[in-house]
């Protein structure tokens, strides 16, 4: 599996889990579908970005930092649009970004350079 595909898959999975955890917040249970879809898309974008970054830069610390940054920015945008739940959205979103950043650096194949 290449790094971008790995980031895509992992970002979507963790994003979906992240979104599904909103079920534990009764006030937003009626918006579950939208939250899960939004969170999954957020994870997808973070995953693809981390995958592309991992193909260009081979450094685990930088990969984690990049994932953290992308996760933070995306989560902040979502929280800003939601007008609330900043802490509940930004913290897990940033951690998902970090995990995806780490995973894409550590795993997944880089295509051989073209001759």
């Amino acid at each position: 599996m290449n790094k971008i595909l790995l980031g895509l898959f992992l970002g979507a999975l963790l994003g979906a889990i992240d979104g599904a955890s909103a079920w534990f917040t009764p006030a937003v249970r009626n918006q579950m579908a939208g939250i899960i879809i939004g969170s999954t898309i957020k994870g997808l974008i973070a995953g693809v970005a981390a995958g592309i970054f991992a193909r260009k830069v081979n450094s685990v610390p930088l990969g984690i930092l990049f994932g953290l940054g992308v996760g933070f920015v995306l989560a902040f945008v979502v929280a800003y649009v939601q007008h609330g739940y900043y802490f509940e959205i930004i913290l897990p979103g940033s951690i998902v970004g970090m995990i995806v950043g780490y995973a894409t650096q550590r795993y997944g194949m880089t295509p051989a350079p073209a001759r």
Partner: protein, 342 residues
């Protein structure tokens, strides 16, 4: 009248056995090893100013069959230019009529001694893969080693792995090819390279049917029987299986190895490589090496059909850190939810 002491006699006998290097460019430094066919000495190449290993027949005199064997061994080595095979430098005859050849002087340890200092299984498997590479190369050149064992592998100071002692090596011919006119000339300088799909068949007439050559425990059953006609590359694969088992258990092949703690996949690889029936073994060395590589990469091996539990365990072992990371994330998420609910 004075009698010589036993010590003096031994010294005299050793002196008489020492090869006479007069007229050659080599200066004798000392004995390294003694084998069934010859003795290996350390010598200084005075022309190139380097140390070499000089293999010479053990005793002077008319030893034409042994001399032929030694020359053939040198020719086999010359045929096998590979980083994993000790290179031959020179071949000739000494003033006392003994045939010799010189090869690279390898400083290092024999694998059976070296392995005691290698604790990690992956490291031992990586050494094994290097042996496989050299043997696969020899097979591609239609050469059968026939005496693969840990003491015939040297590990150099920089980790280089060299397959030694090709004295029992045999040149094979590709299936469909006619044998050479001179059946004794088992070394073909123009031997075509075999592809992994081609399995050479035995044609050499040098070793007669019924002759047993090799090392017990590392010899294949067909080799033990002296069934020369049945020998092919799968015989070396059997020996490689025995070497692999030794590397994993650090127990000599002819003694009872403790395989209780050996991973099932590795045990299956050993069992398949050293199967009594050649048809049940890996058919080429590359297949064996591929299975070992797959094991190292945390993938399923062809020699062993895994249960669901084994598959899950292998998956967990391969992605352990990653799985723990996700679990840690989920625990953190749960804790966060509990904290926010309050």
């Amino acid at each position: 009248m004075k009698f010589l002491s036993d010590k003096a006699l031994t010294r005299l006998r050793d002196g008489a056995e020492l090869p006479d290097l007069a007229g050659t460019r080599y200066r004798l430094l000392g004995q390294i090893a003694r084998g069934g066919m010859g003795v290996v000495y350390a010598a200084q190449d005075e022309t190139l100013q380097r140390r070499v290993a000089l293999k010479v027949l053990e005793v002077p005199g008319d030893q034409s069959e042994l001399a032929d064997r030694l020359i053939r061994e040198a020719r086999v080595l010359a045929l096998l230019e590979h980083p994993g095979i000790v290179p031959v430098h020179d071949v000739g005859t000494l003033a006392d009529g003994r045939v010799f050849y010189t090869m690279k002087f390898v400083e290092g340890q024999r694998l059976d001694q070296y392995i005691a200092s290698v604790a990690s299984i992956p490291d031992r498997l990586r050494i094994f893969l290097r042996i496989c590479e050299a043997v696969a190369f020899a097979h591609a050149r239609a050469v059968l080693h026939r005496d693969l064992k840990p003491s015939n592998v040297m590990v150099g100071p920089f980790g280089e792995v060299l397959v030694m002692d090709w004295g029992l090596a045999k040149i094979l011919a590709c299936a469909g090819e006619s044998p050479p006119d001179d059946a004794a000339a088992t070394v073909w300088q123009t031997k075509p390279t075999l592809t992994p799909g081609d399995r050479p068949t035995e044609i050499s007439a040098i070793t007669g049917h019924g002759t047993i050559m090799g090392t017990p425990g590392y010899m294949s059953p067909e080799q033990t029987r002296g069934d020369i006609a049945a020998l092919d590359i799968r015989s070396d694969i059997f020996s490689l299986g025995a070497v692999l088992r030794f590397l994993l258990t650090r127990t000599p092949a002819n003694s009872q190895a403790d395989t209780a703690r050996m991973d099932r996949s590795l045990e299956a690889i050993c069992a398949k490589a050293a199967a009594p029936d050649p048809a049940q073994r890996y058919q080429i060395v590359q297949e064996l090496a591929l299975d070992v590589s797959r094991y190292l990469d945390g993938l399923a091996v062809a020699a062993h059909r895994e249960s669901l539990l084994e598959k899950s365990l292998r998956f967990y072992r391969r992605y352990r850190f990653f799985i723990l990371l996700i679990l840690a994330y989920l625990v953190m998420r749960m804790l966060l939810l509990i904290f926010l609910q309050r």
